[in-house]
Structures are given as structure tokens and as C-alpha cells.
């Protein structure tokens, strides 16, 4: 059965190769090839899943060794795959959601002449992501890690003719590279500590290494996770990444890739367990990010950016959970999966809205759309309820558990973390309600709207087909787009319940991640109650602000916090000043130094000899008698020197 694992990756990889090398002749069928192959991968995933279920818990780890990759003395890296419950979960999420989004894209990208390449990239992403979660050692994981980075770079910048898109893509890649530095240093540390970096031996012997080393490793892994999962301080790229086509945002920047960081931490559980200090840092990062993202999400008028903020915040929850150790690992993953469903659903919904609104993304130009696109409204609504943790829906189960675990951390830490989580829940409720209201309720602000300036950043080529200035005619999206939305909506409604009933998910994952019940100072009931209160509060405030009074078409100046949040709390400006400007100055001055100093020394020497030569040359003045003088003087010197030699 192990033989199948490689096929999981091979299928989409083949798709990518065919579509990218195949050239124009495949333009017709390209998208179907892509969709077919990703679905194939999903089917294989299901087969393997069935296989795993057929075994008992402790024999559910499959290893497939393909070939020796980099053998140098003690440094042995193999191309080996590991399929256990953890990676299986991810495989299903990736291929499942991925296939759905492939399907969705067939409709969404219908008007793009480069659709074939889009699907090529999507397949490439699937392959890389699967490699990431199936790798059996950190170096191979690194390949997948950068692979998804590349795919996301290509897809964010898919509309390369837009400078904003190209820049966003570059930014995403660079910020991720900073994270990658963490990952590669972590791998080096692992190698120097354990003499290997394969999961098996490392995680088995993690305990026996010195805590200092382990903390270092853990922190480096965390840095990597921050890069990939857009956690503070490396979060800045995610907002810009929304320049990519919406299906990309849904698949890569909501459901799968951005959660890779969580995967990394959970996968390295053994290391983190043995490094409590690092774990604390993880929880802090998680807590900070979940508030950060939430706050940003409240202020954005761009629907995708608002959702991006929410993604950041939700991943913050997961990281927080992962940082809590065995208490939280399972719930981190569980929230990850459920989030995969409803956030993907939300993004697809947003895409569908934009599709119907001439790719308008400014929610202030929406309003009252529920009647025009009912399916989108319903699916989006369900996703909304799921994310705010409406009782019974998937978000409710997963998020609630995390908040409990946070309190269970105990001591002041516990209170702080738990409090943050609760507050986050409230804010989530607020901004999601805001999105919901501004989009589907209220008066139809898109009517008789002022002509949009063509160079508005949100311009997408599809818009050109439908006339720039025409008033949009909101309409429901085609089946090929709505079906995936419906499926995801179903997932986000029942997923949580399905997992939680009888702790299915817990038992499934426990053998890999381990699990321990934390002793919470508050009873589960209390926490749930508190969460409900926050939820209601959030919704209420949002209703008060956006439901009752009409939404102004142009954003009001807003409070200080609002303005800060609009500018992503100024962290981008900070980067710009410190890194970009500083870097520019540094390079420019270095270019100068290289030219004047390093090169100057050499040219200077040459010039010096030239000058010396010119001066000496004058001695040769053409007068025989002066030559005679020099000879005479030379003779005198010669004699003098000889006599001197004898003297000394």
C-alpha cells in the first residue's frame, strides 16, 4: 500500500509538467486535465485513508523509501515519505479542498487566456504541499516548504502585468525566505545535535538532547512557521497576497499553505515538548497574531483583505493551541481542518460576489446582494456562522476547545492567553458580522456609483471584458462555481460536530501528537458560556454600527485605532522605513564603495605608476651631457658603495 503514497504527489506533479511544458495546444483542455489529476490525487488519498482505517491505531504509519538523495558521510538525506494520521489528515484536506477549488476555478478563470498556466501552477502547488506534509525528514520537507512558496509566488503574481501583483508576489517570497532561514538553521542545528534530521530518530531522541539546543531548534522552527503562516512579526505579506486570483486566496492563503506552519510545529511536537520556553514564545506569538489579525480585519473595506485578516487571526488560534503542547495539538489541527472548510468557503463566496460585481472588492460598494445571489448568500452565511463559532457549527467545536486549553495553561499565563482568545472570539464575531452586513444587507450602494478610475488596484482583466464604467448587474455564479461552495458549506456546518462526537478526531490523531487533558481553572461550561457572551457582544456591536444606520460609501476618517488598523497597524510602514529604505541606502553606498574604494585602490596604483613613469621619463632629456652626468654619478656611487661595503 505504501507504493501509492508517491502517486499522491506524482499525479498533480505530472499535471503541472504537462500543462506548463505542453504549451498553447493544451489551452482547450488544460483546466480539465488539472482538475482531473488533482481529483485523482484525492481519490488515492481516500484509498489510503481507507487503508489506514483498516489498521489498528499503532500500525497506521506507512513509510515509502524511494531513493537516497544527498549522501555525504554522516549527512544522509533520503527521499522518503511518511504517511501517518497527521499527514493523512492534511492529504485529505489539501486534495479535497484543492479539487473543489480546481473545479471552482474552471468557472472563475473562464475568461483568462492564460487559464492553462493557472491550472499548471495550481497542480504544482498541490504537489509541493503534499510533499511538504508527506516528507519523512526536515530537508525533504524544506523542498515542499519552498515549493509551495514558489507556487504561491507564481499565483499571487499571476496577473504579472499589474505592478502591484508582481510586487506582492515578490514580497511574499522574500518574507517567506526570512522564515526559510529559520528552517534551514533549524535543520543544521538538528544535524549537529542528532547527526540526522529524519523525523523518526530525531523525535525519538528529542528528550536526550540539551534543552538549550532544543530551545534554539524550536525557536528556529517557530521563525519558519511565522513566515509561512503569516504570524507576527512576519505577517506582512498575507494582506498583499490577496492580489492573486480569489481561488488562490482560498486554497493557498486560507485553507492549506498558510497552515503549514502549524503542521511544522505539531510535527515537531517532541522537540517543543522538551523546550517549554520556546513553547511559551509560540503561545505568545499565537495570541498576539490572533488579536492583530482580528483588529486588522475589523477595519478593512476590501472584502478579501478583511478575510485575510481573519485568516491571520484564526491561524493565530491554531498556533496558540500548538504552543500549549499536548493539551492543544489535536485541537490546533482540528481547528485547522474546520477552518480549511469555512474559510475556503468564505473566500469562494467572496470570489463569487466579485465575479458578479465586475471584480469590485470594496464592500462599501456592495450591499443588499442577498437577493441577487442567493446561493452565494447562503453558503457564505453558513461559513460566517461557522467562523464566529455559532453553536453546533464546526467553528464552535474547534475554537471552543482551544480557548479551554488556553485557560488550562494555568497561572497568569493561562488567564492572559485565555483572555486574549476570548477577546479574539468577540472581535471575530464583530468583523465577520460587519462583512456579512456590508455585503448582503443594507441598501444597494453599487447603484449609480461614480465611475471607477481605471488604475484602481483591484482591476482584474476579467473587468475589461465587461466594460469599465458599466453599472454592475449582480448575478449568481455558474454551477461549476456554486457546487464547490455548497460542498464546503456543508463541511463547515457538520465538520466540527462530526469530529467531536465521541472525540473521533482526538483518537485518530492522538497516536501521533499525543494528548493530555489540561486541568482548567474554569469548567468547560463556563468557558463556553463566556465565549457565547463575547460572540453575542461582537455581533451586537457590529449590528449597531453597520446594521441599523446606513454604511457610508466612502470610509469615514474613523478612530485612531481604525486608521492604524487600515494601515495594518503600521507594521508595513515600519518594514518600509527600516528594511526597504535602509537596504536601498546600504546597497547604493556599497556600490559606491566598490567603485571608488575597492576598485579605486587598484586603478590608483596603476595611475600612480603612470605618474611615476611620467616623472622619471623627464630625466631622459635628450642631452648627451646629462646622460654623461648620470653615468659619472653612477660610477661615483658604484665606487662609493663598493668602498662602503668593504668599510662595514
Amino acid at each position: 500500500m505504501e507504493k501509492l503514497i508517491a502517486l499522491l504527489i506524482a499525479a498533480p506533479l505530472l499535471g503541472a509538467a504537462v500543462l506548463l511544458v505542453g504549451g498553447r495546444r493544451l489551452d482547450r483542455v488544460g483546466h480539465w486535465i488539472g482538475t482531473l489529476l488533482s481529483t485523482a490525487s484525492f481519490v488515492i488519498g481516500l484509498v489510503l485513508f481507507a487503508g489506514l482505517l483498516g489498521r489498528n491505531a499503532e500500525h497506521r504509519t506507512l513509510i515509502q523509501h524511494l531513493w537516497t538523495w544527498v549522501p555525504v558521510e554522516s549527512f544522509q538525506a533520503d527521499v522518503t515519505f511518511r504517511l501517518d494520521q497527521l499527514s493523512m489528515t492534511f492529504v485529505l484536506l489539501i486534495t479535497g479542498v484543492g479539487s473543489l477549488i480546481h473545479l471552482y476555478s474552471v468557472g472563475y478563470m473562464a475568461h483568462d487566456e492564460r487559464r492553462r498556466r493557472f491550472f499548471g501552477y495550481l497542480n504544482l502547488f498541490l504537489a509541493a504541499m503534499l510533499l511538504l506534509v508527506l516528507a519523512d525528514n526536515y530537508l525533504l520537507l524544506y523542498v515542499g516548504w519552498e515549493g509551495v512558496g514558489l507556487a504561491s509566488y507564481l499565483l499571487i503574481g499571476f496577473w504579472q502585468h499589474k505592478p502591484s501583483a508582481a510586487t506582492a508576489a515578490k514580497k511574499a517570497f522574500l518574507v517567506n525566505r526570512v522564515g526559510d532561514v529559520g528552517l534551514s538553521i533549524a535543520i543544521m542545528l538538528l544535524f549537529t545535535t542528532f547527526g540526522t534530521f529524519a523525523f523518526g530518530p530525531v523525535l525519538d531522541h528529542a528528550g536526550s538532547a540539551s534543552e538549550g539546543k532544543l530551545t534554539a531548534i524550536a525557536l528556529m522552527l517557530l521563525l519558519a512557521a511565522c513566515g509561512k503562516s503569516a504570524q507576527v512579526p512576519l505577517q506582512s505579506w498575507l494582506g498583499d497576497a490577496m492580489e492573486g486570483p480569489t481561488p488562490v486566496s482560498a486554497l493557498i492563503h486560507a485553507a492549506t499553505m498558510v497552515t503549514a506552519g502549524v503542521y511544522l510545529i505539531v510535527r515537531s511536537a517532541a522537540v517543543f515538548n522538551a523546550a517549554p520556553d520556546a513553547q511559551l514564545v509560540v503561545t505568545v506569538v499565537g495570541a498576539v497574531t490572533l488579536l492583530f489579525g482580528a483588529i486588522v480585519g475589523c477595519a478593512k473595506d476590501d472584502i478579501k483583505k478583511a478575510l485575510a485578516g481573519s485568516t491571520m487571526s484564526q491561524i493565530g488560534y491554531m498556533v496558540l493551541a500548538a504552543g500549549l503542547g499536548p493539551v492543544g495539538y489535536v485541537f490546533a489541527i482540528m481547528h485547522l481542518v474546520t477552518h480549511g472548510f469555512f474559510k475556503a468557503g468564505l473566500f469562494l463566496g467572496a470570489g463569487s460576489v466579485m465575479h458578479g460585481m465586475n471584480d469590485e472588492v470594496d464592500m462599501r460598494k456592495y450591499g443588499g446582494l442577498r437577493t441577487y445571489m442567493p446561493v452565494t448568500f447562503v453558503t457564505f452565511g453558513l461559513g460566517y456562522l461557522a467562523i464566529i463559532g455559532f453553536p453546533g457549527l464546526s467553528g464552535f467545536f474547534s475554537k471552543d476547545k482551544i480557548i479551554e486549553a488556553a485557560f488550562a495553561k494555568g497561572g497568569t499565563e493561562g488567564w492572559i492567553l485565555g483572555g486574549a482568545a476570548l477577546l479574539g472570539a468577540a472581535i471575530t464575531a464583530f468583523y465577520m458580522t460587519r462583512v456579512m452586513l456590508m455585503t448582503f444587507f443594507g441598501e444597494e450602494r453599487w447603484r449609480s456609483r461614480p465611475t471607477r478610475s481605471p488604475e484602481a488596484p483591484s482591476a482584474e482583466p476579467a473587468a475589461e471584458h465587461q466594460g469599465e464604467h458599466a453599472e454592475p448587474h449582480p448575478h449568481e455564479s455558474p454551477k461549476v462555481m456554486t457546487i464547490p461552495m455548497i460542498v464546503l458549506a456543508v463541511g463547515s456546518v457538520f465538520g466540527g460536530a462530526f469530529f467531536s462526537v465521541g472525540d473521533r478526531f482526538l483518537h485518530w490523531l492522538e497516536p501521533v501528537t499525543g494528548h493530555s487533558e489540561g486541568d482548567s481553572p474554569l469548567s468547560a461550561a463556563t468557558v463556553t458560556g463566556a465565549t457565547m457572551v463575547c460572540l453575542v457582544a461582537g455581533v451586537a456591536i457590529a449590528w449597531a454600527q453597520y446594521g441599523r444606520k446606513p454604511v457610508p460609501a466612502v470610509a469615514p476618517r474613523g478612530s485612531l485605532l481604525t486608521r492604524a488598523a487600515r494601515r495594518d497597524l503600521y507594521q508595513d510602514d515600519l518594514n518600509h522605513v527600516v528594511l526597504v529604505r535602509g537596504g536601498e541606502h546600504l546597497t547604493r553606498s556599497l556600490v559606491y564603495v566598490d567603485h571608488t574604494l575597492v576598485d579605486g585602490v587598484v586603478n590608483g596604483t596603476a595611475a600612480g605608476f603612470g605618474g611615476l613613469s611620467g616623472r622619471l621619463r623627464r630625466l631622459q632629456n635628450g642631452f648627451a651631457r646629462s646622460y654623461a652626468v648620470s653615468m659619472f654619478g653612477g660610477a661615483a656611487l658604484l665606487v662609493a658603495a663598493t668602498l662602503l661595503m668593504r668599510a662595514v
Binding site: 558521510e73 523542498v143 542545528l189 547527526g195 536526550s208 556599497l590 556600490v591 576598485d599
Partner: protein, 523 residues
């Protein structure tokens, strides 16, 4: 007396060069084809060497040894170890692509007499360089190596100074002057390095009485040859200086940007991908073998210089406005990695460095040749003159991107393996330096992506709107390189298997062992 395979491998391109130069002026195309065939034949011979070489056999194989200049204690001694084999293969592999890529670079200018034959000269010179590079990889006699190490400069010099990009922003006259400036700079830098090495070579003779690596090693082993510490250090410095100029290592690097900027893309590839490798190779073979103690003594300084090269080169690459200069500074950064790996004195570092030489050769060739195709279309080297190329020439843009990704050593492509090996090898012994070097990968991403963004993306510039995509010949050049990049990225074992034993040998020369891990977790 078996067939002198190594001599043949070097002699074939040499004869080819003569033959090509002799082709009459009118028969230009014939000359091109002749050069191409010769380079392919050489590749075939190199493959034979590769096959005949037994990784687990003696240290030096296919050896040849004949008396040459008794008076100087010089013997014509050839032999290859794994490292040499790998690099010979690389050289022989790249030359055909270089020839093919430069197919039209030397079509004659209007000036000059009937007998002026630039085309023949161009390809003859390339083959001459190939011959000399190959033999200096093969030489196991310091003097033989030195001779070709130096003689190599002359054809290179004419290649750089004699042939440049056609169109030039300041007109042909200015181009000519800049070219000759670059050529002279190249020659003087390397000549000074070489002459200082000459002093050291003479010194070595005074100390050792001959130039044979084997004999000297043996003499040291059985104690008949003892080098005073100071002597060894001076000699080491003499050798290292020359190699550091060639490599090039900061702060001796400034000739490279000029040379690569002014010469045509294929020649630029010849410089970085092939000729400069002789420098790093020589550090590994001569500095470490002849002067192990001095090498260890100098290691700290050299490592620092290497790290400076890595960061400095990368930062300057970010600041460049000229595509070729950018690639040049990127190469300086990469050479920093190679030197780092060599002097980290760990098996990962040195295997990585060797692997790096091969991979960097291929990746730079890919990137630079595509850049050359791009430049030949627009007739400008300035990044600012491009924009939105991927819209009009997607294949060109795609290959360019892959070349760039290889340059920033994206995992899955060949350079990643070598770069990571170098970093790990360094980290295990010098963590701090390893960490600093690791940040080089961010800068690498920066300059590559900035280059790609400015040239390939964004709105289409009117000047490039009519730009044709890659032609068949150009695809034939690029495609194999890319395939190779990917293949060696996922399956570098063939190369490492050849290289590792040789590296083990070098490690034992310098009596160094890899550091042990804290926990013995490996199965």
C-alpha cells in the same frame, strides 16, 4: 603504455582550435560547425574518462607521467581524482552550449581586411580555453598546472577584449574602449596573481626540489621533506593569492563585473562557469594538499573573507542596473560559498563546494545565456530598458525565471543541494559564520526576484513589444541545462559518489575529522 586518455581529452580541443583558426575567411559557418563538433567530441572523451574512472580506486587515476624539463624538476604528470573528473565533465559539457549560444556573436564587423577572421578566431579561442582548463584540472604537477593556469589568460583576454555585445548605449567606439579596459583589467589582475604565485612556485622548488604532488606528499610523509612553518605560510599565501584573484574572492573581485559586463554572454559564462572554477579547484587541490598546516592557520581569515564575499556580492547585485553586472556580483557571492565550503574543512563543506562548482556552472550558464538572448534582442544591458517581457516572450521569461530560481538555490534545483551542504558543513564547525552565510539566501532571493520583476513583469514596454520568443537554437541551448538542473536537484548521488572519496582524501591530507553530533540518533 596505455592510451593517454587525459592528454587526448585536452589535446583534442587544442587541435580543434588550430583547425578552426585555419578555416578560410569565407567559410565562417564551416568554422562554427567544426568547433561544435570538436567540443562534442571532447564531451564524448570526457564521458569516457567519467566511465573509466573508478570512485573507489586509487586517488589519482588514468595517470600519465613523462619527463619534461629535467632542469626544473618538471615532469608532465597528469591524473584525475573525483573532484577533477567532475569539473572536467562540467567543462566539456558546457562548451558545446557556449559555442551554440555564441553562434552569431562573432559574425564579422565591416572593418578589417579580407584576412581578418573574427569568427574563426572566436571559436578557436573558446576551444583553446577549453583545452587549457581541462589540462589544468588534470595536472598533478604544480609546474604543469601553473603553466596552463597562466597561459589560459591569453585566449580569455582576447575573447573578452575582442568580442562584445553588438549594440551598445554609447556606440561602438565607446564599447571598444570599455571592452579593452575590461580585458586589460582581467589580464593584469590575474597576471599579478599568477606572478606572485610564480614566486611561490619557485620557492616551492627551492624547498622541495620538484613539483610532483605525489612525490612532495610522500617526501613529507617519510620526513625527508620538512617545511619551516614560516616558509609554508609564505608559499601558501603566494598560491592562495593567485587562486583568490581567479575565484574571485573579496576584495580581489572587481575585475569580474567588468569582464562579464563587457564580454558576450557565452564568454561571460566561460569566465564564471569554467575558468574561475580553476581557482577554487586549485585551492582544494594545491593549497590544502601542499600546505595543510598553513591552510589551517589561514582558515579563520579566509572564512571571514568568504562570508564578506557572500553578503557583499549579494548586496551589490541588488544595487546593479546592468543585467550582466548583476549576474557577475551574484557569482561573486556564490564563489564566497564555494570558498567557505572548501575551508570549513568538513566533508559536507568540501563535497558541497565541489558540487557547488558544478551546479553553479550549470545554473549561471542557464541564467546568463538566457540573459544574453534577451540582451541580443533589445540591444541593451540595462534592466530599466525592459519590462513586461513575459507577456510577449513567455518561454524566454520562463527559462529566465528557472535560471534565476536556480541562482537563488530553490530546493528541488541542483544548487540547493550544494549550497545547503556548504552551509551545514560550515555550521557544524563554525556556527556563527554558518548563520551569517545563511542570510545570504534572503539576499539571493532579493536580487533574483527584483531582476525578474523589473525585466519580465509589469506593463509591456513599447521597445520590447515586438520581441520574438526563444528560437529553436536557443531552446536547444537552454532546455538541456534546465533538465540537468532539475535532475541534479532531485538526484545528485551520481556526482556525490564520485566526489566523496576524493574529499575524504583531502580531509585526511589536512588531518581533519567531522565534528560529532551531540546525540547519536542516526540509525
Amino acid at each position: 603504455m596505455s592510451f593517454p586518455l587525459l592528454t587526448a581529452t585536452a589535446a583534442l580541443p587544442a587541435l580543434g582550435a588550430v583547425a578552426t583558426a585555419a578555416v578560410p575567411a569565407a567559410r565562417r559557418t564551416a568554422a562554427k560547425w567544426l568547433a561544435l563538433l570538436v567540443s562534442l567530441a571532447t564531451l564524448a572523451l570526457a564521458v569516457v574518462v567519467l566511465v573509466r574512472f573508478d570512485p573507489d580506486g586509487a586517488r589519482y587515476q588514468l595517470t600519465e607521467s613523462h619527463a619534461w624539463i629535467k632542469a626544473f624538476g618538471v615532469r608532465y604528470e597528469l591524473g584525475v581524482d573525483g573532484i577533477a573528473v567532475a569539473l572536467i565533465a562540467l567543462t566539456a559539457l558546457l562548451i558545446p552550449f557556449i559555442v551554440l549560444a555564441g553562434w552569431h556573436d562573432a559574425d564579422p564587423l565591416e572593418t578589417g581586411s579580407r584576412r581578418w577572421r573574427p569568427t574563426q578566431g572566436f571559436f578557436a579561442l573558446i576551444l583553446a580555453v577549453e583545452a587549457m582548463v581541462i589540462i589544468s584540472f588534470e595536472a598533478t604537477d604544480v609546474f604543469v598546472f601553473y603553466i596552463f593556469f597562466e597561459a589560459m589568460l591569453i585566449p580569455m583576454y582576447f575573447l573578452i577584449g575582442g568580442f562584445g555585445d553588438r549594440a551598445h548605449e554609447h556606440g561602438e567606439e565607446a564599447a571598444a574602449t570599455q571592452r579593452s579596459y575590461a580585458a586589460v583589467k582581467f589580464l593584469l589582475y590575474n597576471l599579478v596573481g599568477g606572478l606572485i604565485m610564480l614566486a611561490a612556485v619557485i620557492g616551492l622548488y627551492v624547498v622541495a626540489g620538484n613539483f610532483s604532488l605525489a612525490e612532495i606528499a610522500q617526501a613529507r610523509a617519510n620526513g625527508t621533506l620538512h617545511m619551516a612553518t614560516s616558509t609554508e605560510r609564505w608559499l601558501f599565501l603566494g598560491f592562495f593569492f593567485a587562486f583568490a584573484v581567479k575565484a574571485p574572492l573579496w576584495p580581489l573581485h572587481t575585475w569580474l563585473p567588468n569582464a562579464m559586463q563587457e564580454s558576450t554572454a557565452p564568454v561571460a559564462v566561460l569566465i564564471t562557469a569554467v575558468v574561475d572554477k580553476v581557482g577554487t579547484f586549485a585551492m582544494l587541490r594545491f593549497c590544502l594538499q601542499l600546505f595543510p598546516e598553513a591552510s589551517k592557520w589561514a582558515t579563520p581569515v579566509i572564512l571571514v573573507l568568504a562570508v564578506i564575499s557572500i553578503v557583499y556580492g549579494a548586496l551589490l547585485a541588488v544595487g546593479q542596473r546592468d543585467i550582466k553586472r548583476l549576474v557577475a556580483y551574484a557569482s561573486i557571492s556564490h564563489f564566497g560559498f564555494i570558498v567557505l565550503g572548501i575551508f570549513a574543512m568538513t566533508s559536507q563543506g568540501q563535497s558541497g563546494a565541489t558540487l557547488y562548482m558544478v551546479n553553479h556552472g550549470i545554473s549561471t550558464a542557464a541564467l546568463m545565456l538566457v540573459a544574453g538572448f534577451l540582451i541580443s534582442r533589445r540591444g541593451s544591458r540595462l534592466i530599466a530598458d525592459y519590462g513586461g517581457v513575459q507577456k510577449v516572450a513567455p518561454v524566454l521569461a520562463g527559462t529566465f525565471l528557472i535560471g534565476g530560481l536556480a541562482t537563488l538555490s530553490l530546493p528541488g534545483l541542483a544548487p540547493f543541494v550544494s549550497e545547503f551542504l556548504v552551509l551545514v558543513g560550515t555550521f557544524t564547525r563554525y556556527p556563527a559564520i554558518g548563520v551569517v552565510a545563511t542570510f545570504g539566501i534572503v539576499l539571493a532571493a532579493l536580487y533574483t526576484l527584483v531582476l525578474y520583476q523589473r525585466t519580465m513583469t509589469g506593463p509591456v514596454k513599447p521597445e520590447v513589444s515586438a520581441m520574438p520568443d526563444l528560437r529553436a537554437r536557443e531552446l536547444v541551448v537552454v532546455a538541456p541545462l534546465i533538465v540537468l538542473l532539475i535532475f541534479l536537484g532531485v538526484y545528485p548521488k551520481p556526482v556525490t559518489d564520485i566526489v566523496n572519496p576524493a574529499v575524504k582524501q583531502t580531509m585526511s591530507d589536512v588531518q581533519k575529522k567531522d565534528p560529532k553530533p551531540e546525540v547519536e540518533a542516526a540509525k
